[in-house]
Amino acid sequence: MEPKANVATTRRRFLAVAGGAIGALGTAQFLTVRPAAATPASMAAAIREAIGEAQVRPGKVKLDLPPLVENGNTVPLTITVDSPMTAANHVRRVHIFNEKNPEPSIVTFHLGPRSGRASISTRIRLADTQSVVAIAELSDGSFWSDSVDVIVTIAACTEEAK
């Protein structure tokens, strides 16, 4: 695997391509296309797109991430939701979002009464020290969340791009 470029730690620049701004108006400029970083605003937008305008309450959800990560390339994550997982009362979906990666969405898990337990483990990438947010949608239509702040350090003695 080729080495990954260092991600700028303050990559808040992003292309604002608002609806009416594209056009023939203004001077012709070549814009350098940089990967847009998620921001708290774009994370909020991604959350809205995933769950609509529903109210989200903290609770029931436990997002397990190491507070200090040795390498942002592979961060172990466990998400657990306190739920009996019966037909009448279960978790339908769990969404996980982040603040500073190039994209705000990380993963969506789809569960149901056949799951038995609402607990999933995976490994994620975190580009920088940031917050990770988990939102669970229950069968009664309610939404619950948890959020964790993660410090991401980088490795010493890495490869340089050839």
Binding site: M1, A5, P35, S105, V107, T108, R114, R117
Partner: protein, 106 residues
């Protein structure tokens, strides 16, 4: 040819909740990584993972580039009956990797 490792109990008691661990080799190329010329390597990830139990979907994950390379996913399911668990990983190119595991439920 992707390498897959699935950890499923071969036997389980009916109604018990079992843990399933899955691991698949895949670079999960994000699309944001420059190669040595500075050009971005195109995105190539597994974007969906589904577990079906005798044909019924019991777990699904929609993956984005922030899922780490060689995706590891572990989850739970109720051992309802004997049969076959089918695991399907689907890539951006639409191609799927499929693995099966038998389970005996008594």
């Amino acid at each position: 040819m992707a390498r897959v490792l699935i950890n499923v109990p071969a036997k389980a008691a009916r109604g018990h909740v079992i843990e399933i661990k899955t691991l698949i080799s895949h670079p999960m190329e994000t699309g944001y990584r420059p190669d040595h010329t500075g050009k971005l390597v195109p995105r190539d990830i597994i974007n969906r993972f589904v577990c079906a139990y005798n044909g019924t979907e019991v777990f699904r994950a929609d993956l984005h580039p922030a899922i780490a390379a060689n995706p590891f996913i572990s989850f739970y399911t109720v051992a309802t009956e004997s049969g076959v668990l089918t695991f399907t990983w689907t890539g951006d190119d639409g191609k799927s990797f499929v693995e099966k595991a038998n389970i005996t439920v008594a």
